[in-house]
Symmetry: C2
């Protein structure tokens, strides 16, 4: 049953939804978010921890900021970034679990194949 006129509100919210996912869709940004789990970090700290050029760090942080995933707060010379919402990590963990299960399953297939061969 085709939805003749799709509600424009749903369309817009889905767009934002996708934008959030896009904020998560980069390995550097995922590492950044996990680096912020325990406490806020400033840009220099993140730059050194993740071994990135400083502009790259700032650019990724900008994307995370724009998607509302992190919040930056200036304290003097430094800007400390923290997670905007703990559930971001929950969502990332969920997806990571899916991935782990898949990798485990595939590994077990290889295992079985090997034992059947010998």
């Amino acid at each position: 049953m085709p939805m003749n006129s799709k509600p424009p509100l749903l369309q817009e919210v889905t767009e934002l939804h996708a934008g959030i996912c896009n904020g998560l869709a980069d390995p550097t940004r995922i590492l950044m978010l996990y680096a912020l789990v325990d406490f806020p970090r400033n840009v220099k700290d993140l730059t050194e921890t993740l071994e990135l050029p400083q502009p790259t760090t700032s650019r990724h942080l900008k994307i995370l900021r724009q998607q509302g995933l992190v919040i930056g707060e200036r304290k003097g010379l430094y800007i400390y970034y923290r997670l905007a919402d703990r559930r971001i990590i929950e969502a990332l963990d969920l997806l990571r679990k899916i991935l782990n299960d898949r990798l485990t399953y595939r590994a077990s297939l290889v295992e079985n194949y090997n034992t059947e061969q010998e």
Copy 2:
């Protein structure tokens, strides 16, 4: 992007993790995944439900397939796609909740501003 002194395994897993997120990072694909919540659907069904050109549907399904988010099973002429894991929807719901909370909060700010004005 150089993360030379990082464990290569973590880096690879993070890459896959980001790939999954990237699979979710498109409004059409999000609508597709939600369309598959209750039961599998074939491509024609999805094409009509989401009002997309058929090649577009197939292309998005290919991305979802590659990221392990959906599974397709041919039954005669049709290929029925289903969610590969229910937790995908859980993760999407989590992120959607974060979004809703943010929109609600912002709406309340506007509300307060308006009442303070009068």
